[in-house]
């Protein structure tokens, strides 16, 4: 799977704009996932999930670091994210549908914070980028 040049350029441009704030938005995305899809909390029962939790913030930063890594290695996501795939698939046994829910909440978060940048084409590029990440991270669900 290869991301088209236009999608690549759009995602890179937005990521430059997000700068060092990616962790803020991935944390909000996690919080939204827990509220909108409560069954997702099953993977985080060892954490304090109350609003503003430092532990959720810390995990949000891990997600951010992984996405920044993905953005910088768009040509080889499967190899770049292989250690995360191993962790989430075999050790944590995360249902692949969870990644789709988290990505949807990330899109809601980015749309909310960057409404002027969130054109339909940017939205489409982000969906394709996140689908690439999910493919590299999780086994196919069907």
């Amino acid at each position: 799977m290869v991301l088209a040049p236009a999608d690549r350029a759009a995602v890179l441009a937005l990521w430059r704009k997000l700068g060092t704030n990616v962790g803020i938005y991935t944390t909000e995305a996690l919080e939204r996932t827990f509220v909108a899809f409560p069954s997702s909390k099953t993977y985080f029962l060892h954490l304090n999930l109350s609003p503003g939790s430092a532990q959720v913030r810390a995990h949000g930063q891990k997600v951010a670091n992984a996405l920044v890594l993905a953005v910088n290695h768009l040509d080889d996501l499967p190899r770049t994210l292989s250690y995360l795939r191993e962790l989430h698939t075999h050790k944590l046994r995360v249902d692949p549908v969870f990644f789709k829910l988290l990505c949807h909440c990330l899109l809601v978060t980015l749309a909310r914070h960057y409404p002027g940048d969130f054109s339909p084409n940017m939205h489409a590029s982000l969906v394709r980028f996140l689908n690439h990440v999910i493919s590299a991270l999780a086994p196919s669900s069907g």
């Binding site: 909000e28 939204r32 509220v35 899109l107 809601v108 978060t109 749309a111 409404p115 339909p120 489409a124």
Partner: protein, 131 residues
Amino acid sequence: MVHFTTEEKAAVASLWTKVNVEVVGGESLARLLIIYPWTQRFCDSFGNLCSESAIMGNPKVKAHSRKVPNSFGNASKHMDDLKGPFADLSELHCDKLHVDPENFRLLGNMILIVLATHFSKEFTPQMQAYH
């Protein structure tokens, strides 16, 4: 069948009084057609859907887009019996048009994202969950 608390019903109804149904509907439907191109098969008679600008400017997309949020707005006033307002639409989309139910979930996601762009402050995690 989902049951909503008084607080949830009030929050959803309050947000939808501020929604410009034509704008939200248009953007939501356009995003669905752009991001998930297979949904265009249900719009064969709409004319030119070959690009973002063509879809955003398509008069038939705009005309259809008024219907979608109107039905959602109507539903927000009947949250104790959501099946009622949607009964005729359910028969139309499922039995006549053969729309796969997954596409309704995708359209719902588009509506949430468009609401997030228009109501940045109000669209808290709780508000998202109520929807």
